[in-house]
Symmetry: D2
Subunit: 235 residues, 4 copies
């Protein structure tokens, strides 16, 4: 069972990153192999909307030759996908939106071989911002991914609408852990395993003991090596 994380934030040390790591760690705990991609580090060109002129022209692996091929192939291997994005103006970041636009080449296979290649994949969402709009952003991603054929499991989302460090926001932490857990549980259910509960309120102790210390360390390392281009130009 494979769960893929897609990070649509420029930072490997911000709240979206932290939420994604929580979800992936929980996914591992409940039995998944995980992997994640930092979308800002990939070269993904914008969608050309080929389908608007020739519906069969939009197909895997897309006429544009760029790093989207890496994403397509990881998505195709994955049983579950977690979309983690900062909330930029009540919506996913443009980098995340761009990858979603390009995923059309998988969904549009319905016109080539009769089936969306996103069909039956299980998805979850992390959206973090310091103002309103997280739910607006999640509703966009959820309605899009479901329209591509994905399953939205119960409690598929974790979000932040205000200031604070994700590591310390207990409700968010518990929700983010459950995003990972719920995605895995739904994959299991769809394979015939009985799921007793969809939300586990008892993951915090494990988080405090095993996830948080690791994540604090990772975040610190990533922040230290990050370029902060605004530092030289403003004060």
């Amino acid at each position: 069972m494979k769960v893929l994380g897609l990070l649509g934030s420029p930072r490997r040390y911000g709240n979206s990153f932290k939420g994604l790591m929580m979800a992936l760690k929980a996914a591992e705990r409940f039995g998944a192999e995980t992997e994640w991609l930092h979308l800002y580090e990939l070269d993904v060109k914008p969608c050309l909307g080929c389908a608007s002129e020739d519906v069969k022209a939009c197909r895997y692996p897309c006429v544009i030759k760029d790093d989207m091929k890496i994403i397509y192939d990881k998505v195709l291997e994955a049983d579950g996908i977690i979309f983690a994005t900062p909330v930029y103006w009540y919506s996913p970041s443009a980098v995340m939106k761009n990858v979603i636009d390009r995923l059309t080449a998988l969904e549009n296979m319905i016109h080539i071989d009769g089936k969306s290649w996103m069909d039956g994949k299980v998805v979850g969402f992390v959206a973090t911002g310091n103002d309103s709009g997280a739910m607006f952003a999640v509703a966009q991603m959820m309605s899009i991914l479901n329209s591509m054929g994905a399953v939205i499991p119960p409690w598929s989302m974790a979000y932040i609408n205000g200031p604070g460090d994700a590591l310390e926001l207990k409700n968010f932490v518990l929700d983010a852990l459950n995003v990972g857990r719920s995605v895995v549980m739904m994959i299991k259910a769809m394979r015939g395993e009985k799921v007793e509960k969809w939300y586990d309120p008892d993951l915090l102790e494990w988080y405090e003991r095993e996830v948080k210390p690791w994540l604090i360390r990772v975040v610190k390392e990533e922040e230290e090596k990050a370029e902060k281009p605004w530092k030289s130009s403003t004060s």
Copy 2:
């Protein structure tokens, strides 16, 4: 296996009604018992937002004593629920929104007994209008229901954004049939049955033969007996 339809349209003969009937007939075909409620005929008063003052005050069966009790009990019995609404200003009708607001008393049981009573229910959506806004309306319902703990199966929605009789709009018909089918398939998957495909493109023949003639008859009868209050007052 039980699937409940909630109709948020004033009419028992319009496109939302037709779409709901298609979904329910398909749900029956794939093994569900079905039932539906015409929300405009029930007396459901507006939510008082008790939880904003005392989080534990909002609980089943709600302090308001009205026909919402009927809806709560049908929802609690159901494994799947299909929300069918006209698109009034890019959103569900106020009557549908009102019932959704009142469903809080089931979701908020999480603060009473640790679990949302909507948890794990499978939901689908029908939204019809003669202008834009269907997807905006669906995204609202989907994000709300998932936040209450419901599962969104693949291909959970059927919609109309323009003129036309739902009975004749082939894409809509196929989507509406698949809303019912997909809700049932997800209930089955969650019970351990293997689901081979989430969208069945071959339901139209059955529809033409068995559903459409019946539905034409029902719609005709309902339209004949409907009051049309504007007829006497305008011309």
Copy 3:
């Protein structure tokens, strides 16, 4: 110059009420006469969607005879309208949505006499909740009202996405005051007055001195006389 407030909350002492009062007081300060209606106290039946069958049947004053007539007439007299609602599931309350649905009878006059009767009215928004979704709710109202022909002035919205007493949330207070101010300034601009600035960051001192003490008193009185139906039934 007249500005009308519409309150879509059950409470005359909650955050939506407070935000609406702030906006109206600021509207008065900048030259408007104001008035407001408590929508929960009016009997407004749901829209019957007449226009879906006969586009000319939907017209002022609506075939339904109820308190919506009061609202229509106040709206028609108003130059500006402020919609204040709690955020119920990322959307306006069903009571607010119901009134918006019924406003169709003014907008639809475009099919009767060539012009929406909402055309050129200036609108503002207050949306308060203790979780995410305020911006989603505002985006719904804004896109609807603009589609009816209303003007959205700069800084048309004030919102709360979390806990707290609106009276003490400085950013919200300043935004809510500016909702009232901006609605009035836009009405003035449309009458040919020059507007120097659209957001006034210096209204807090006046608020502390003149608005807040009055509002604390009003809220206290209203809360004391309010029925709290959940008090008897839960604990």
Copy 4:
């Protein structure tokens, strides 16, 4: 008076382009100078979200040195801006969203010199797609732009939710012409001119005579010289 068009479509001959040209021609007719930018031809890198770490770091002209500088300067000169985008998954294209994200550097000047540099600009929207989602996309752009300080005039939007050539869709054409007209009328109103009507239903004859023949010619030329990368790779 200057009105700027921003085209978020890959094509200079599709429906978004056509709608934008209609709006700009109408803006000229009512007194504006116009100009437009084809966003797909500019090199605009994604937002780095600097403000999330240092609120004053996000400021004009942005730490990223790329073609966004051209857009910033055109936006700053403009009194009105028309955003024209295809609907990609119920939202603006990622290219349009990217430019909107980067406009934060103008809005965020509120933290530097006390005023959003988008304050008081008048905006309109064109959104075209062959499925649902246009209103969802417009609601996103409208709520964002208003949050930056822009004015939304009456009838600010024109959209397509289905198949067809924009040049022939009478309702769309009339709405698109009125987007341009309404933006100009609002700029005039804000300068003290009296506006008699916000929507002009009599622009079609002028369109047929002067705009359409020109636009047919432009579209033909643009389509002939366009690269169609999918042509060589699919069939």
